[in-house]
Symmetry: C2
Subunit: 341 residues, 2 copies
Amino acid sequence: MTAEGSPPRTPTLGDVAKVAGVSIATASKALNGRTEVKAETRERVKRAAERLSFSPNALAQGLLTGRSGTVGLLTSDLEGRFSIPILMGAEDAFGSGKTSVFLCDARGDSIREQHHVRALLSRRVDGLIVVGSSTNPRASLGPDLPVPVVYAYAPSDHPQDLSLISDNVGGGRLAVEHLIASGRTRIAHITGDIDYSAASDRALGVTGALEAAGLPLTGGRVMYGSWNEAWGRGAARQLIERSPEVDAIVCGSDQIARGVIDALHEQNLDVPSQIAVIGFDNWGILATNSRPQLTSVDPRLEQLGRLAAKRLSEAIEGTTKHGIETIPCRVVTRASTAPSN
Amino acid sequence: MTAEGSPPRTPTLGDVAKVAGVSIATASKALNGRTEVKAETRERVKRAAERLSFSPNALAQGLLTGRSGTVGLLTSDLEGRFSIPILMGAEDAFGSGKTSVFLCDARGDSIREQHHVRALLSRRVDGLIVVGSSTNPRASLGPDLPVPVVYAYAPSDHPQDLSLISDNVGGGRLAVEHLIASGRTRIAHITGDIDYSAASDRALGVTGALEAAGLPLTGGRVMYGSWNEAWGRGAARQLIERSPEVDAIVCGSDQIARGVIDALHEQNLDVPSQIAVIGFDNWGILATNSRPQLTSVDPRLEQLGRLAAKRLSEAIEGTTKHGIETIPCRVVTRASTAPSN
DNA sequence: TATCGTGTTGAAAACCTTTTCGGTAGTTTT
DNA sequence: AAAACTACCGAAAAGGTTTTCAACACGATA
């Protein structure tokens, strides 16, 4: 019996080879499914690896191949509502494969962002996903990074970059089409801060779809305000005052929609029988806890994240794309827009 | 002039050394602030590194030192409300230093979890943070991992592991003490699913504090139900029916609290002048959009995440702890519990 | 003058894996 | 019997960094 004096370090390929009685080269080939190794030998090596619970050192592999099998996910605000689903989608799309995700939150600080980018590059990530905190364009990381970059949610301001965003104009259109299909014709639009392209784009879709249907925008103009329930409540009260004929309201966010519903209840107006309300974002916790449950336009952020992962993988493999790619929204129908009859 | 035929790979220490006219060893020492190098030489090397925008290959460093400077963050559900702040806190605590975070979402699937753990170990992470999706204990990853592990939010079921949780019993107590301090004496408790230790622990704190103050629990018993607004509404109606004398309600979550407030408004009971309402979780989006804004017990999850990062760093440095460590909650006071007079 | 420190530098090993290429033994073809 | 071929295996290099140790030069000490 040998004296087991060595400390229990994590086993290397060399240890496996020794146990199996072969060379390191043969062990490597056996475990990686290369053909030039006898079946019986391969079995022996595999058993040895199993017994030592060997797992190859990804650092060494990365050093050799120049591919680390990691990507960086750079988010601007983790507490924000929108980064998370995108992050989930991306993590999901990568997670099944052989790449892992480094998460970094820059807190909207460009110094910190630079710092993180440097750290990620020094870890030799194979690529970068940058997810913004609003739909407004953000500064590009620059064209001369040694790895491909994909921007999600907030497009890059550099046209040569690839940016992935959801189709807010189309989303606004979908909302109106959904309301028209459920029998509404006197449609108003209450939304958030006009400085957000999310607000103006969605408004564009709303007015465009109304125009296409030959309907006026009830209330006369888009009601811009801020992204919270208080504004939804206030705007709804104004609207009812000025345009009591309204029979449907497109809201720029689910929060605004909850405020709107709240105010309508106060005025003893029933949702949806008297006025239909549709939200935007399909934020589960708000939409399903609302009374009635809230129909909402879903920007499909997980999908966006998954696509970002896919495009980044493609770019890493060599096929790069440029410009802005949009993905369509969809309407998730719940009780708040049930047909009025 | 030399023919610059080589492709522009990312520069190595060797390149820096060549430009500076020194050996690789000297370059390394110069950049790492080792003393045994002449000041003038160090300057020359630093300038060369700067010019090539050299950054050391972390893979190679990790391979050599056995420390990768990375940790794995294993979450059970990313879409969950609670993982995110913890994740933020941890990312924050690490982010400033020299360690990066691998994010993995196991989706509550233990197969996937195993897969992720293996992948992380093969990347030679220096440690692991496991954040659960509920406060109930979860299965340990096992005692024989080659790296330290810290469990956050959901404690491990293995007493030898280190688990970090917020003090839910204390949180319940704080809620009652806050209400008593603002002049309430007829206090009820509406909370979520009894199968969650979050519910039973908070209830324990509530009843304990009442007992300590010599007050009865209004309604006679803790009202367990589910974690959503609908239950909050229903329970509040029942409560008002059975115990109209109630002047304060401790809610097991902010969602329940919103439902409660909603139902109270329907009964024309004013919050807070007639009945005070306090929530739990301090979920900003719910608490600040409520009308009136919602006082809530804050479990300080970011703090939990930061502490997890700290404890993990300590464990990596060698000082390991065991058992369950709790961090205190705090009350964030808003309008819904303003004193009644 | 011989010895000893001191200050500075560079060669080489080590970390772990993959891949190339040469070698050996056994088998088939001429 | 010689040649060619096949199947399998192992030695060695490569990847980029850190660290150890030897070497060197030079001034100071004995």
